[in-house]
Amino acid sequence: MPILRDGELDIITHSAEQTRRLGMRLGKLLQAGDVICLAGDMGAGKTVFSAGIGVGWGAVTPLTSPTFNLVHVHTREKDNQRLHHLDCYRLRGPADAESIGLDDILNGQGPVIVEWPEHIENVLPRQRLWIELRILEPTRRNLIFDATGERYQELLRKFRQSTFGV
């Protein structure tokens, strides 16, 4: 577990299942307003990682690919938080972001997962947890976590603790 600097974390997973379990650990730590950006090519495991986040967070319905609808909204039983799961592959800039109600989603009462965040980077908040997933080999993936802002550095510290015990 190389620590590049405070606010960064570099992990290699060896299977889709392991990627999903990492997502679960992160999902348990999420608070309302958290913005998690998942960047990476098709097949890198963004939706697998998201599905894990959903399980950890406690979503009633499983997180599936939001590609078609662009936005999926999930609820959980313990409170009335709503988790928004976005796919921005087909968004190009502020007008598209507005058409899916991004402002309301970001000001909403729950965490937000953004796939293909690079397509709307200029309208995303500067403070966020950015995770890049890279395809190394057929089943191995490299996840690079980059936290910007105090809340996300704290989130990453807790995540590291729950994952590696340090």
Binding site: A16, D41, M42, G43, T47, V48, A51, V60, T61, P62, T64, S65, T67, F68, N69, L70, V71, H72, V73, Y89, R90, L91, R92, A95, D96, E98, S99, I100, G101, R134, I135, P138
Partner: protein
């Protein structure tokens, strides 16, 4: 005689249709945006809603005029309320509300997936449908296996855990460098290809009736693409990190093998569910049900009748919304003018509120 005007704008087709008694199409107008979106390789939400706004008035009026009617001869207005793109749904729902207000006709909010189911009723002059039936909805956004025990009664047996079937077609089409939309283009390429050239994984065939196509998509990518070397990636940081199609691969073989793997998964679970629930026939609907390989494989896998809509009713249309609306209309159901859109609306027994004696399941 009951006449329903249907309106559909959930994705990239602006559509209106007039249907009599839930069975007979009197008019069916579809303004497709496919050429508009092909340039982008997918439906872009802002482009889609703007195109809907421009088309909806003309399309609505044409549907009524083609039917040889006027708006006051319509008994009710049925409109897709969800699931779909929120900006697109709003255009249709607001137009329908305006019509309802202006004409005083009742308004019915229809689930788009239920619309796909009722596209099968538009084939009815041939033979009546007898419940229970198994319904497989396969489209760009949905893969749903439903047990239908009566009008408006759906038990959801399974669905996709990740990518929808049509989404897998679109994404694999993109990997193979084929034009958008992926479905018809992959089918065409597959006709020239060898479906056994690649051994792509079938999704886990466990006990459940759920589907998974994300692993299949990744497997196709693994076989047919190469990643640029790490050195090349460093040189052009961020610029070329995408996989590139291998030049020594037959796109037709890859398309045929992918299509076979996907069709096998759909057919295996559907045929098994049909047996387990003792249904009278299998109904397929949605854009992917237009796929000839799927139709042939489904017919080969079961002794039951397999019904699917004619090609023009597989894709999004408003006749199916009017047909679904008819059964809600004759059941005495109505919606208020303050009805909102439901972009993530599932189809199950709680879609329109739980019927008596049915308990919610998570």
């Amino acid at each position: 005689m009951t006449i329903i005007l249907g309106i559909e704008t959930s994705c990239d087709e602006t559509a209106a249709a007039v249907v009599q008694d839930g069975k007979t199409i009197i008019s069916n107008v579809v303004a497709s945006q496919i050429d508009l979106h092909a340039a982008y390789g997918g439906v872009f939400p802002e482009v889609a809603s703007r195109a809907h706004v421009e088309a909806i008035g003309v399309v609505g009026e044409q549907a009524v005029r083609d039917a040889g009617l006027t708006f006051d001869r319509i008994d009710a207005i049925a409109v897709t309320r969800g699931p779909g793109l929120v900006g697109s749904l709003l255009v249709g729902v607001n137009y329908a509300k305006g019509l309802a207000l202006a004409t005083g006709k009742p308004l019915l909010g229809i689930n788009h997936l239920e619309g796909h189911v009722y596209s099968l009723w538009l084939t009815q002059p041939v033979r009546e449908i007898v419940f229970p039936v198994l319904v497989l909805i396969v489209s760009g956004g949905h893969t749903e296996l439903l047990l239908m025990t009566g009008h408006g009664e759906y038990e959801r047996l399974g669905g996709t855990l990740d990518d929808a079937a049509g989404e897998a077609f679109d994404k694999v089409g993109r990997i193979l460098g084929l034009p958008f939309p992926g479905g018809p283009n992959i089918e065409q390429a597959a006709q020239q290809g060898n479906p056994t050239a690649f051994e792509f994984p079938r999704a886990r065939t466990d006990e459940s009736y759920d589907f998974s196509f994300s692993g299949l998509k990744t497997a196709v990518m693994r076989e047919v693409t190469v990643m640029p070397s790490a050195a090349a990636r460093r040189r052009e940081r961020g610029a070329e990190k995408h996989a590139v199609l291998r030049s020594d691969i037959s796109v037709n073989d890859a398309a045929a093998s992918f299509q076979k793997a996907l069709v096998d998964a759909l057919v295996e679970k559907t045929a098994r569910a049909a047996k387990a629930y003792n249904v009278t026939e299998i109904l397929m609907a949605g854009g992917v049900s237009a796929n000839t390989a799927l139709r042939n494989a489904m017919r080969a896998a079961t002794d039951l009748p397999v019904r699917y809509p004619p090609l023009n009713l597989c894709t999004d249309n408003a006749a199916m919304i009017a047909a679904a609306g008819y059964y809600r209309y004759i059941a005495g159901l109505r919606d208020d003018l303050d009805m909102d859109v439901r972009p993530n609306w599932p189809l199950n027994n709680e879609t329109y509120g739980a019927p008596a004696g049915v308990t919610a399941q998570s």
